[in-house]
Symmetry: C2
Subunit: 694 residues, 2 copies
């Protein structure tokens, strides 16, 4: 990837003299900042803008590290072949007209793919805006012009964007609206060869990048992405387009790529500590904030002090702090004593720290004084400042800068006020790298991202690069045998049991006498079910009989079930489990991430709450514990209504093993354990269905 | 209120020569725009800034319509008395140092209250920033200076803000950042006399106000507020601070006012068609958008077409449209044919309408062409435009202005791009009154506010000004008698039944023989309960016996219950209801709104979903139906898992009658019907507790 990010020389194929053409803008952009050799290529010119122009890359006498290609789509493959022949290690193809344009374009893109495979040339794009490196002032793009004049700030946030046009507008917006400095903006287009993982891998080691934002419509290689994110020591924020059913429809018609199931993507990102964003600007706001505070906080707490000049804004801030899962700090005794020195006598010191009366009594210095006290408070993990800048000459921020520098804890600001004063504050805040926001909620959610940032688990981690987990016992493979389709409940549970998953006590019975005996042995009441080949919906077919309380009833039900199945199926007798909670556990194969484990609430709650959480298999024990912790309805697990708490260790084991089964047995397409009943805190698989390919 | 909004002459008490003092700024601000008589009052000066200065309002020779008072708190009451004596109809008191500052301040404020009551002078404030009327250029405030120079835009959104300092920053921000024109900004401070209702009432009739935003920390008179909102023919957006438990804590320490229970406030606002906002800037964005489209949409549909230059942004927009409850429009055949004319052949026409390939093939005009087609489509109710302004000379917006003017449906824009181009677009958008936003989600939620805006129900509405609903039958009063405290289950249900609420069949029994007979009469199984005076938690005390299936068992349970109660209580036999759904219905008295009806999910769901919705009593039938519709878990009511759908009419009747009971019987403090069981779709009160004051 070095050829893209650190080329010594660049050829611009399709360079043009016409200022209205992209090929002209690329050349102009490259010339503005790039310090190495620049070789325009265009068979119709001898010279452009003072530079010698070559008919083909083959004619360039010096070595070429990078070709930027902007010629009509039908000519791209021959240009790329010439590049490969010339020994150019990489090319950014900015032309459109490939897989995004139907069958003919798709064929053109496939040809590029093949050239890359055959020759080893790395291809970035096509259908993209290329690369902007604000630190090195490399603008390898046809679209952005004049960004330096427009006040582009360099910074330490890098951006990967899949969508072409969007990235252009977005990058130009970021670069010219002065709110945030950026390091690299990478528009990767159709991803024929170079994909988000290649770029991410480079950025993770890039000393000029402290945090990374990615807007993705499809995920090229889910497991590699997860592996990279898990080893990342930089914050990563991802916005995944196409998550709702309707969004996914749009994704299908826009790109050839498969939009991932929203829950799977969210689960996978959460599993590796990636922050999921919701909107474009919000993604950048969070990323910028994390770039300022890239290390996980020293404490595990999330106690926020709010300094405000307005009790009203303090109230709303307290609401938001609650909403995003942070806590309002309880100020220490020492801090309270300090604050009391500037507070008027009648006013109790509290958090949010409402400073209007203190400022009224003691002048504007009271704000700085209070801010220092709060920064020194060991019971405060972060500070949310409210600044109302009413007059340009007293913007209120300058006085705090020294304290912010020394604070040793995150300080984030919400600012409102006069346009001119705000502009002053904005400039100072950029210089001092203090994240400030114009909306209070945004400030609060960015603060939450900082305080929720946790060190990634290290040691014994899943290597997502393969989906090989530890093997399952040989018995599992033996029991799977050459089965195809949906296995029946009993066989499915035998396989789960062989994997080490607790299943309900049950036996197949062949006669009414055996039914009587087994029922007695299991203990009443029992459940009896008719298992008929290919009949999955037992309940709907009347093949499930609950609450059988005597041997005679067991015998009767045996006969009744056999009759209902016309004598063809078999009958299962199982202990009836009295449960305090129903769960669902499953395994699916996601096209982007491979085998994934699902955990959800069962029964009525499943349908009302529709709450399921996903993680990518194989799961470590810690993955499984975190997956359980991601269910919103935690109170159900912790001894709800005086029930015993769910044994989370046991549940985690089930999740780990279901994932292992998915990884070890590629023919298993789907596993559905529904329900997993929790009885006296212990989860047990009561009904299950394993679906095998074929 | 006319004296505040349309005075002919103004006295400024506390006017000052010192430019650093508020009293100077008020005078300067008034002089800048106010056309009537201006009379500075200050005993230490003869003249300020070319105007004759009077020692007291009593010395002003001309009539004074309005006094603006900015003197130390201890002097305010005597100034107000002089104003009253002089016949000044109203005063804005901008001084601080009243109820917000503890006991002494509270006493000063109480004195003002009394003067207002005695003399009839209307008092606005204290502890406020007063009034800015951008249309008339009245700045009756000490804080805002130079707003006209800073680019303040006049518009048709008016704002009521309770919090003092916040409103200052907020108003200055709005006025100087040029995003939005405003009409009036009213900072009402401690509300000693003039409150949000007085101001709202004026604004509802103000021809310069098309939509109203209110930020409130407390609600002075909940029922009057609701009455005003219900009769409003203008959109109203409210942000209520202090809704979470923590927010409410902050509210208690900041103001003397009681922060309303979040659910009650949200329910009350929803009941009268007020839009509830979440954050400051968001409130103004929604309000500005509603001011542009103040009339409820002509259709009941919410079908949105998205025009984008980026498939990626289209995907995210589709996600958001789904999230806020709008739908993506299905484009009509005619529109599809039109769009196909500019689309490249390989690309199917769909919504979101991704125009990048069309622009690529047919130039930038394709965007306008597509926009016209979509505006003409009868199956499209609103259009969400994406604009990426990459070059100042082609900002993309100008070309659309004509079509937007003629569209006849809401058009809202999301814009990103170059700073200079954005500024051009912003100016044009303000001029053309097209709401544009820098964040896609914000654009989508504002569009949702427009499309969700419904005509307020008219006719047969609740008159919130009194809480007198229709009377309840005399039997209810008779049964309440002079009871005090928590009435037992049976008595509570007899009162509910007398109100016309269906209750479970049940009888008190005095002997085991009677228990046998009644049980047989009700039909098995029955439930038997021991009612012991003062013992509310029957289940915990072991006084509830379920599933009694025979006469003998009924007799046994009678004896057992009597024994458990040491022979003191009575025994209730009731039919055991087999229910498909558990609900809770209740009535509470909210300090701000009076009697409120609550509806929630019961059983396990109650604790997991914690879902309860409120409405203020008395409820009309339509209020009750809307209350039911506000439960998020609607699928539970509509024949969940093949159960019969809940009879919403019957449930609405229960809600109406509970509310009526609350209104008609002021001594009833609380009603708790838990559960209301739904059996075969019919709701019936199974357990209940009425709590009576005393």
């Amino acid at each position: 990837m070095q050829c893209f990010f650190d080329p010594k020389s660049v050829a611009i194929v399709g360079a043009s003299r016409d200022p209205m053409r992209g090929g002209h803008r690329i050349l102009k952009n490259v010339k503005t900042g790039f310090q190495g050799g620049i070789y325009p290529v265009n068979p119709t010119c001898n010279e452009i803008d003072g530079l010698r122009c070559y008919p083909s890359v083959l004619d360039i006498p010096e070595p070429v590290d990078l070709a930027i290609i902007y010629v009509p789509a039908r000519l791209v493959s021959s240009v790329v072949r010439e590049c490969a022949q010339r020994g150019v290690p990489g090319a950014i193809i900015e032309s459109a007209g490939f897989a995004e344009t139907g069958a003919a374009g798709k064929a053109r893109q496939d040809e590029l793919k093949q050239i890359a495979t055959e020759t080893g040339i790395r291809l970035w794009g096509p259908n993209c805006m290329g690369l902007v490196d604000a630190v090195r002032r490399h603008v390898f793009s046809f679209v952005v012009d004049g960004i330096w004049d427009a006040g582009c700030l360099t910074g330490d946030v890098s951006l990967v964007v899949q969508s072409g046009f969007l990235s252009a507008g977005f990058v130009v917006d970021l670069m010219t609206n002065g709110g945030m400095g950026i390091s690299k903006a990478c528009s990767i287009g159709n991803k024929v060869d170079v994909d988000e993982c290649d770029v991410l891998e480079w950025l993770l080691d890039d000393p000029h990048t402290k945090a990374i934002s990615m807007y993705l419509e499809s995920i090229a290689d889910g497991r590699r992405l997860l592996a990279l994110c898990r080893r990342a020591r930089k914050p990563i924020v991802v916005l995944k387009g196409g998550k709702s059913a309707k969004g996914a429809e749009a994704a299908m018609s826009h790109t050839a790529s498969l939009a991932g199931h929203g829950g799977v993507v969210s689960g996978a990102l959460a599993q590796v500590g990636v922050v999921e964003a919701h909107d474009f600007a919000q993604m950048m706001d969070i990323c910028q904030t994390l770039a300022r505070f890239p290390d996980p906080p020293k404490t595990n707490r999330r106690r926020v002090a709010v300094l405000t000049g307005s009790g009203g804004a303090g109230i709303v801030a307290a609401d938001f702090i609650d909403e995003v899962g942070l806590e309002l700090a309880e100020l220490s005794e020492a801090t309270r004593r300090e604050l009391a020195r500037v507070y008027p006598e009648w006013m109790p010191v509290a958090n949010p720290v409402d400073l209007f009366p203190a400022i009224d009594a003691n002048g504007p210095d009271a704000y700085r004084f209070a801010f220092e006290a709060v920064c020194a408070d060991p019971d405060v993990d972060a500070v949310l400042l409210h600044l109302a800048a009413l007059r340009p000459q007293h913007n209120g921020f300058s006085a705090l800068v020294d304290t912010i520098r020394r604070a040793g804890k995150p300080v984030i600001g919400w600012v409102i006020g006069r346009r001119d004063a705000l502009e002053q504050i904005r400039r100072q805040a950029v210089e001092e790298r203090v994240p400030i926001f114009r909306e209070l909620y945004r400030a609060t959610e960015c603060l939450a991202a900082v305080l929720n940032h946790r060190p990634r688990p290290s040691g014994g981690d899943t290597d997502f690069r393969s989906n090989q987990g530890p093997e399952v016992p040989a018995e599992v493979h033996a029991r799977l045998g050459d089965a195809r389709g949906a296995l029946d409940e009993h066989r499915s549970k035998r396989i789960l049991a062989a994997t080490g998953i607790p299943v309900v006590a049950e036996r197949l019975v062949a006669s009414s006498a055996e039914a009587e005996a087994v029922a007695a042995e299991l203990g009443f009441p029992v459940v009896m079910k008719g298992l008929s080949p290919g009949k999955i919906h037992k309940t709907e077919l009347g093949l499930v009989r609950l609450g059988i309380a005597s041997q005679r009833a067991a015998a009767d039900q045996f006969r009744s079930l056999m009759e209902a199945m016309n004598g063809t199926g078999s009958v299962l007798v199982q202990r009836q489990v009295r449960a305090e909670l129903e769960l669902i556990v499953g395994m699916i194969r996601d096209p982007q991430f491979g085998p994934c484990v699902m955990l959800g609430l069962g029964g009525v709650l499943a349908e009302v709450l529709a709450e399921t959480v996903f993680a990518v298999a194989p799961l470590t024990h810690s993955d499984a514990m975190q997956l359980i912790a991601r269910l919103r309805a935690q109170q159900l697990l912790d001894g709800f209504r005086r029930a015993p708490a769910v044994n989370r260790e046991a549940l985690a084991q089930i999740l780990v093993r279901v994932g292992r089964l998915g990884c070890a047995c590629p023919s298993v397409r789907e596993i559905d354990i529904n329900p997993v009943l929790v009885s006296n805190g212990e989860p047990v698989a009561v009904d299950a269905s394993i679906i095998v390919d074929g």
